[in-house]
Symmetry: C2
Subunit: 367 residues, 2 copies
């Protein structure tokens, strides 16, 4: 873990992004995909305009996001192609149309797995006199959202293709259930998902329905799909990377590009514990298990975590001093980033030189 | 659960605060304490200037908080007495002094459990020509931070009393380990904590050291300490209340004053599941177990939660419709509030009429 040379000026806890590691991770993703045009990275991990701009500077022009605020952040960052890969209902569906009208330079799409939402989107789009791209959310086995391939899915896709306010964008096939540690097992599982998507695509094409794009794969599986040239790939976590993915998927050679700077606020030599100023308001409590990894304190075991405190047993080398700086690699970076209003940006020499706003941790920006 | 009459204009997920329930909870806390002057409520739960102002309008003038931003929010809200009950090290200690200088109308205190921090605070305070109140953080059994009673603690308190830049504020004795469901068991545990604090206070007083204030008790135990007239009481969660406290402490008769409005975005009749737009970026993942309670869907079991999705088994009455509104009572309201940039305020007639900013979910406001 790179240490920050001017850390004394930082409050704690502080979210750190390492600029050169981010750039290396973007380049690694492009290398795996074969070209930047194959990528549609998910911005839910970093939620920042600056990281999106770094990706655009490398030729990545298509993005994926999960909220209206993330879509608006991308539009403001001049992203030309934005897929809001989430079924929008109620007020959120209206907000999407407002977004389309407010940012005409961007091509917006969304997705759905049901006719009710498709009808609503069409009505809203027709009323606003816009043409809205809508992907079909195909369930390839995660069972979180998505419609299984079959007649209902074909009918839904046909509706998306024919509705006057809509334009069928293609298929969105997220396989978040594929988290096999062994790469060959993961590849086999991804191949099975691919067959489901490819067969359904063939069915649609043979019915004369256009399928402009098929989006598949998160960070663990996008390398598995990279050879399928008709796919675009949508990793997210790998641009910052985290302890969970590094330990679960040793084949992924991304660098840690984010960490949290915390400090020791208490030590108890009787109990043999020390306490840092990083609670679950500063590091995600999901998933279960250890919430972060402390380089240099591998033998310290978490005893208790509350909102702003985290207590550990003493390391063998002895209790750290009051005020000592502790670097923490979050187990899950995506929800952790969303707990901060800013990231402190560290350059290749370990100098913290600027800040980026975690712009779309807010659920609304302008809309 | 009160339904919002004009919910159609709300995005989802949306954090709701019910104004009349908040007022009832403030009044209940004052009734338990005997008078508003006995209370030093913790603002980490709601993080809003408006709720602090409601408390001040009822005569509560002392507050407790855990971060510099929470302290600054209170200062801007004109709170006259602010205890930042957290040991501040490094840059955060400097920030506290900047806060004291920037808001001279407010009386600020902090706490510590060690001489290192006390020395730093004294040096900073002397340099800034201010007198900083510092409480001694007494460990009454939680072992999170705090110093055990004894000669070291006495020496620390003597230092706080004598240091030219400091003023000994008294004792802070948090008993977060007392979460016995049975009220009598909790009362007995609290009584044992009280004895530790009272004995140490007597020792200090008999040494001629002033102990202006002793702060004890969170939401589960502040009623247990209410009869001890020399204590001030610092509940936090009860002003909004949540499912964990309601189910763990049936003797606490506070009302649910916060909920999240979510909507059904997907239904799967084959799997027998439905999915709402509330993931762990919108409801806290701590503590372990169910993350929220869905009135009307008591027989639905959570299957999967990701960042923006939550999948449940179908209720016996059948799958809800796409777009249906679901009200969720968070298991743990404090970290949940911190996930939102605003709360939508609902009046006694169920009309959402304004918004409050969750001002100090940001870790810095002006300092």
């Amino acid at each position: 873990m790179k240490k920050v040379r001017n850390s004394v000026r930082l409050p704690s806890p502080a979210l750190l992004f390492f600029e050169d590691a981010i750039r290396a991770n973007i380049d690694m993703a492009i290398k795996i995909a074969g070209s930047p045009g194959r990528l549609r990275p998910h911005v839910k991990t970093h939620k920042t305009a600056e990281l999106a701009a770094m990706a655009m500077a490398r030729g990545i022009l298509k993005f994926k996001c999960a909220t209206i605020a993330e879509a608006e952040m991308l539009a403001r960052a001049q992203a030309p192609d934005i897929l809001l890969s989430y079924t929008l209902v109620g007020r959120n569906a209206e907000r999407l149309i407002e977004l389309v009208l407010k940012y005409p330079h961007a091509k917006f799409s969304t997705l759905t797995d049901n006719l009710e939402v498709a009808h609503v989107l069409n009505t809203l789009a027709e009323k606003a006199k816009v043409k809205l791209g809508v992907f079909l959310d195909l369930d390839v086995g995660q069972h979180r959202t998505g419609i299984a391939p079959g007649p209902d899915a074909e009918a839904l896709y046909a509706y998306l293709s024919a509705a006057p306010g809509l334009s069928a964008g293609g298929l969105h096939c997220y396989d978040g259930h594929n988290h096999q540690r062994d790469l060959r097992e993961r590849q086999a599982a991804a191949a099975a998902c691919y067959v489901i998507a490819a067969d359904f695509r063939t069915t649609l094409l043979s019915s004369g329905l256009p399928v402009p794009e098929v989006v598949m794969g998160g960070t663990p599986t996008f390398p598995c799909y990279a050879s399928r040239q008709e796919l675009t790939l949508s990793p997210g976590t790998c641009f910052l990377h985290d302890y969970s993915y590094a330990s679960s998927f040793p084949d992924l050679r991304f660098e840690y590009a984010a960490a949290i700077l915390a400090r020791v606020v208490s030590r108890n030599s009787v109990m043999g514990t020390f306490t840092i100023d990083l609670g679950y308001k500063g590091i995600s409590a999901d998933p279960k298990g250890a919430r972060g990894f402390l380089p240099g304190y591998e033998d310290s075991v978490p005893v208790l975590q509350n909102e702003e405190h985290w207590v550990f047993t003493a390391p063998k080398k002895g209790l750290p001093s009051i005020g000592e700086e502790i670097y923490v690699i979050p187990t899950h970076i995506c929800p952790t980033v969303a707990l901060y209003e800013r990231a402190h940006i560290v350059d290749k020499d370990g100098v913290c030189f600027t800040e980026w706003r975690i712009a779309c941790r807010d659920r609304s920006i302008g809309i």
